[in-house]
Amino acid sequence: MELYLYIALFAPLVGSLYASLFGGSPKSQHVGIVASGLLFTSFVSSALLLSYVMGGHTVHVELMTWMETGDLYIPFGFVVDQVSVVMMMVVTIVSTVVHIYSIGYMDHDKGFNRFFSWLSAFVFSMMVLVMSDNFAGLFIGWEGVGLCSWGLIGFWYQKESATWAANEAFIMNRIADLGMLIGIFLIYWNTGSLQYDVVFSEIGNLPLVVTTWIGIFLFIGAMGKSAQFPLHTWLADAMEGPTPVSALIHAATMVTAGVYLVVRANPIYDLIPNVGIFIASLGAFVALFAASMALVNRDMKRIIAYSTLSQLGYMFVAAGLGAYWVALFHLMAHAFFKALLFLGAGNVMHAMHDELDPFKMGGLRKVMKGTFIMMTLASVALAGIYPFAGFFSKDLILEVGFVEHHYVIYTVLLLTAGLTAFYSFRLVALIFHGEERYKLFGIHPHEAYKFMLVAMSPLLLLAIIAGSFKMTYYQLVTSLLPDTQYHVHGEMTYWIMTIGTQLFVIAAIVFAYKKYSNWNSVPDGSSKLENSFGYKLLSNQYYIPKFYEEVFSKPYLELSRIAWKQFDLKIVDATVDSIANAIYKTGENTRDIQNGNLSTMLRWMVIGLVVLVSLALAFTVGYNAVGA
């Protein structure tokens, strides 16, 4: 079984190294195939491990020592237990699909080989993250996915916007990583170890204040990775990267790392329910906040990105309220249909020559039947219609909110569900229905390669049927996670809630369709709606990016310039130079003593003689006066 662990973990690394050998060469098909093949191997190993874990066992290995000094001992250790195996399955399934898809998507790209190197490296980092058995290993994977995300967002490095977005993502993640690092330090100095099992058994003995700070700092780390407010601006900008990257990293894996952290550290968060309430409230806020920005956006990928952000909010609500298995379940289901949505959007982008404004599309269902079906079904799943996967996971979260008596959170999430349905189907309607507005721009769309559609189909299948796994999943996961069932009191209340939510969502869908499925012109910024305050606020993301730029980025640069030019050069260095100058001046002035003029020298000699004689007298007299 250890063998399968190593295969699952290292196969992506091998793929990445293999691809990097061809990094500078022009595209070679075999690079993509080998990388995808190795990913598939990883997937198969993970599946084998899944069946093993379902039999009630776990696999735990220690590969070698990493850091050992003083009392600190950090090994490279990996564990496959119920939680990590679920994450492994999600990561490997989505990664394999994305790799195969990318063979087609990056077909004409010069950096084909380099792309697969980065992509597989990313999967390796993510596997390290979810399979580690200690916080330091988690941190390795954490920073590793940050690095690969930087490389992939900025993949088309000739584009200024792409590299800027890459740097923004890395730096914002780093700000959060500082919090995580402090959390790790706190854990080490208070429990003496960073191993999960040791920490979680010791955590109950710590004073509550310390535990609270640990929880807070770890969550700050999660906020960066999962783009919770106020560290959320990088996620939408990350859409600069190629679409498979968005599908893999910014829908299914990296951004869910924060949720994974909270779920994994549930023994800590169980002790500090106040922090949990904060997490849940922030999650609910983000859910609504992101959904509101998606309502009016005119960039297809950004709409889906905001949708991801919104759903991450849902996951944090569940995790914050202690329903860890629910959060993990939604993570899993969401990964499938969101990745599917992104990949479909990739098809549309390619067909539309990288055009992103849905208003410039329209009527594509005639030309792109496969993509149309997939994206619509994915959106249905996202909206949470029975019997698709989203219903089981999202509704469960709504139930959790209701049952735990957090009615404000419940209402916010319910409202967001409606908004989610609305903007998802606004997108679908604008792209696939109505007049073929793209003809105005001379674009000739065609469907994606057959094999790409075939590759996407497992995700479609899972998006539809994943709900049926709920029971098996629940049995599996609650061996490790707290086992709480959420029952709404009263049959009537339960049915009213469920049916009511469904009707609300369906109404939103219908409204969206009515409004957008017969669109026939491209808005140019002159309509009343587009100039209204609300619209401007939402489409400029509440002006938050501008705020960050004006209040943080620009002043920091200015401050740095002042620190250099005014302070370092003019004050610190000038002080040193002035000391040196003083000495030079003294030297220059006293040089005149030696000007070769005999009478001057004689004068100095006499003066010197007089001084020395007086000194000698003074000392002798003084000595005598003292001594005698």
């Binding site: 990094g23 003083g70 890395f170 730096i171 780093r174 500082l178 690092l181 740095s560 310039r561 040196a580």
Partner: protein
């Protein structure tokens, strides 16, 4: 087994350098590489023969110089100095192998070999006067390298470097003389041996003054804020090889000296000054990172980043616990490798375009992809990405200091943010974007000589990031005995509280007793 390995390591390059005067110009390069290679192999042999389980000094040699005052030619290595010596020989080898300078190459190589002698001498010396002699001697070849092969302001830069460091060292010398005098007063015998000084417990007020005297000498060398302004000029005007050796090895002399002198000799003073020095370290980290961000010259970015990392090293040193001090020694090695590599990389582009202004570049990743990859790896190492060598050191330093103060470590941890900001921004200016400048369009990628220098550094940076144990273990053992010594000698209750007591752990052979 080789007797007197340390004397051999110190004087072999110098002898070879003197012989080098008769070597012809054309074979000088090969001669230099051969000598450096032999020296490096000798230092590897030193590592092989070193016993990591003993925490005290090994390979000791002693010969009286001025018996009346107890000045002996005393040498020895322990876990702390062993790896810095190997780093010195390694970098001399890499430096000479990847030299692209053509003017007066023979003189340059001879100078480098003399410099190697002084560097190994500083780290192997166990007698204060011998240490001082080598410390000052190392300034001379460096002065010559900057002054003769440097840029337009080279005379100003080299004189500033020399006089500034020299002044600090004079204050340190006064401190050493006082220390010897105290030893004489306490025991009736003169001695300048550091090991014997360790046995002396000084009254607190003497410790404070002596600490301050030694501090000035070391602080200018590190360089600590506000004594750091000589470094940007020295780096800016020095040739590539000068910057590489300066950043990789010479700066480490200061931080090494803190661990070798200030900590064990003056434990109470170290605790007393811990917080002010930590504040200076934090200023170094954040302030120089901001200044680095504002630079327009890529070499100055790397120069200021050196100061920023030295701040983390100082913080780890003054954490006064095993995790922190071992972290700081490890980070010394890591910083040497990464900074050396970065200066070599800057040298690569300077050799091609004879400019270091980032505005002249842009889009280099399309033209020189291999160069961009190696620069990217080293850039990420500098930023402290896990699984690179810098992360291990930074993590341990911050972890160590966290025990002493939560708030200050949080502030210092901002290092990882500001570090990312200036490094990523510089990398973007140089490598990303479209190629706008005509002159950049036909640049050649790395050639064999340059690879020869860079590939070993990349390998070390990743290997020691993944598996630091072979290096961390000897360092750990030696540091444990230093901390134990400090705890035993500490007199004030605060010092006893802040320095951990390790006596409960497994057998530690105290420093004085090793062979």
């Amino acid at each position: 087994m080789i007797d007197h390995i340390l004397t051999l390591l110190i004087f072999f390059p110098a002898l070879a350098a003197m012989l080098g005067f008769v070597v012809t110009k054309d074979s000088m390069r090969a001669y230099g590489i051969a000598v450096a290679f032999i020296e490096f192999v000798l230092s590897l042999w030193l590592w092989y023969a070193y016993d990591p389980m003993i925490s005290g000094m090994q390979f000791m040699e002693s010969m009286p110089l001025i018996p009346a005052f107890g000045i002996n030619y005393l040498l020895g290595v322990d876990g702390i100095s062993l790896f810095i010596i190997i780093l010195s020989t390694f970098f001399t080898l890499i430096g000479i192998a990847s030299l692209t300078e053509t003017r007066r190459l023979k003189d340059l190589i001879i100078t480098l070999l003399f410099l190697e002698m002084t560097m190994v001498g500083v780290f192997a010396a166990l007698d204060a006067i011998v240490f001082y002699v080598f410390w000052e001697l190392s300034l001379v070849p460096m002065l010559y390298i900057i002054g003769a092969w440097g840029g337009p302001l080279r005379i100003y830069a080299s004189i500033k470097f020399f006089l500034y460091t020299f002044t600090g060292s004079l204050v340190m010398l006064v401190g050493m003389l006082f220390m010897a005098y105290f030893y004489y007063q306490a025991t009736g015998q003169w001695s300048f041996s550091i090991l014997e000084w360790y046995r002396l417990i000084l009254p607190e007020n003497f410790q404070l003054w002596l600490f301050a005297a030694f501090f000035l000498g070391f602080a200018i060398k590190v360089p600590m804020f506000p004594f750091h302004t000589w470094l940007p000029y020295a780096h800016g005007q020095a040739p590539t090889i000068g910057s590489v050796i300066l950043a990789a090895i010479l700066l480490k002399m200061g931080t090494y000296a803190f661990v070798r002198f200030s900590l064990p000799l003056f434990p109470d003073a170290s605790v007393f000054f811990m917080f002010p020095i930590a504040i200076i370290a934090i200023i170094m980290i954040i302030y120089t990172a901001m200044v680095a961000y504002a630079q327009e010259d890529i070499k100055q970015v790397v120069a200021y980043s050196s100061v920023s990392h030295m701040g983390v090293i100082i913080l780890g040193t003054f954490a006064l616990n095993v995790e922190g001090v071992s972290g700081s020694v490890f980070l010394m090695l890591a910083h040497g490798v990464v900074s050396g590599a970065l200066f070599l990389l800057v040298g690569v582009i300077y050799d091609r375009r004879h400019t270091k202004m980032m505005s002249e570049f842009g889009g280099l990743a399309s033209v020189m992809p291999r160069y961009a990859t190696i620069f990217g790896i080293m850039m990420m190492a500098s930023v402290g990405l896990p699984l690179t060598i810098n992360f291990v050191g930074e993590f341990l330093c911050l972890l160590g200091f966290y025990k002493q103060s939560h708030m200050l470590t949080l502030t210092a941890g901002v290092a990882i943010i500001v570090g990312a900001i200036y490094m990523l921004s510089a990398y973007k200016k140089m490598f990303f974007g479209a190629v706008t400048n005509e002159k950049n369009k036909n640049l050649k990628d790395l050639n064999r000589t340059e690879y020869l220098g860079l590939i070993p550094l990349v390998i070390v940076a990743i290997w020691l990031g993944v598996y630091p144990k072979p290096v961390l273990e000897p360092i750990n053992n030696s540091v444990e005995s230093v901390i134990q010594l400090m705890h035993d000698k500490a007199q004030s209750p605060e010092a006893k509280a802040r320095i951990p007591d390790l006596s409960g752990k497994n057998e530690i052979i105290p420093m004085q007793e090793a062979h």
